[in-house]
């Protein structure tokens, strides 16, 4: 019977089985899913999604997230503007949640993915395999947090729409939602098999 070394075994992302790494034409032995079939594009797809996400993140910060229309007067607030208003109002915990979810999480995800994408091609110091897998896991887990501000805008706009006072979504909400989407796509199209122990 054929036998395998530890380095030849991978985890199926679909059914979690231990399965054999067959290089470019991988099919899981248990669930028959095609896994990691990137062919000649190993990191390019992930790079493309990541760059798109970073581009969308710029208008997401420059344009208003929420527009408040009150007695014929219109006022938009950006992500950072919203955080500052909350801070001045004294709602420190909520200001911190928004700052964490809309600024800290997206930037951390960009940096982690950049680091992973660069480090699988070029050796950066003596970084271990387990640490990089853990970093990859973190990028997947913190992703959804950045949707908080988009949901908040959807809730406020859905709740307050009277002629005297109205809240509507701003351009930044579309840009921000797209940025989050492309970051999640960049993370999930990253080929974690590229993380290998350096000898």
């Amino acid at each position: 019977m054929k036998s395998w070394k530890e380095e030849e075994l991978i985890r199926c992302p679909i059914c979690e089985a231990v399965t054999i790494d067959q290089g470019k034409k991988n099919i899981c032995r248990r669930c028959n899913s095609k896994i990691y079939q990137h062919q000649k594009f190993q990191t390019e797809k992930s790079w493309a999604f990541l760059i798109t996400a970073i581009i969308f993140y710029i208008p997401a910060n420059l344009y208003p997230m929420l527009v408040i229309k009150q007695f014929g007067h219109e006022e938009g607030s950006t992500i950072l503007g919203g955080v500052i208003v909350l801070w001045e109002m004294g709602s420190y915990p909520v200001a911190l949640i928004i700052l964490f979810a809309s600024v800290f999480v997206p930037l951390l995800k960009f940096l982690l993915l950049l680091y992973l994408l660069i480090s699988v091609k070029y050796s950066l110091g003596n970084d271990s395999k387990v640490d990089k897998h853990t970093l990859y896991y973190i990028t997947e887990v913190i992703g959804p947090w950045s949707m908080i501000d988009v949901f908040v805008v959807a809730i406020l706009a859905g709740l307050i729409h009277l002629s005297s006072m109205e809240m509507v979504a701003g351009t930044a909400s579309t840009a921000f939602a797209l940025s989050v989407f492309f970051t999640i796509m960049a993370a999930s199209s990253f080929d974690s098999r590229l993380i290998k122990e350096k000898r």
């Binding site: 395998w4 075994l9 032995r29 899913s33 949707m147 908080i148 988009v150 959807a154 406020l156 859905g158």
Partner: protein
Amino acid sequence: MKTKITSDQLDEFIICHKCHTLHKKAFISNGSKAVCRHCKSVLYHRDDALIDKGLALSITGLILFILANVFPLIRVDILGQEQVITILSMISRLLESGYYIVALFVVYLVFIFPIMIFLIYVTLFFLLKTAQKEKLVQDLLILLSKILLWNMSDIFLISILVSLVKLMSMLEIHIGLSFWTLTLFVIIDLYMTRSIHIGELWKIKEEIYREQK
């Protein structure tokens, strides 16, 4: 580990989902769990009543989610007029104002995916309990693993709390009945994603249908 692993031994091993360390599975008693020697995250559990528990939890979750869509989440009084919001009214409002992309994200992340996941859970546990339709069970398990990542009801609940704080200073707000059913739904949802790993369902599935053959 320098030893070689033969093809028929592969099922005796597990790779940690977080740090990808390879482990040989050890026997554990009912109700306990095995953790990774490197990062201490849970590798697998042993729960002999998993199917019954899963079925009960997923039916409860589904009912709670439906209720969370029937009643208002929040009510506000603005200049004597009462305004209410439900998940679906929020989405239709986004569509009316032309924010189609945001509406699309919201409808998938907080409505379609959560309801799909719980419908899949109910069907899966029912089929596993009655040992029927192996092929369908496999397809559902594959579909489930692909959409689990896109369920954001927990983040949505946090967003409701943030919105309440934002509005508190300017308006009189009331928490609606659906807010509580959504909270209970999120608790069940979090408990299920933490305690039921897809890999364990595959293992149970293999045992059930092997006995049948």
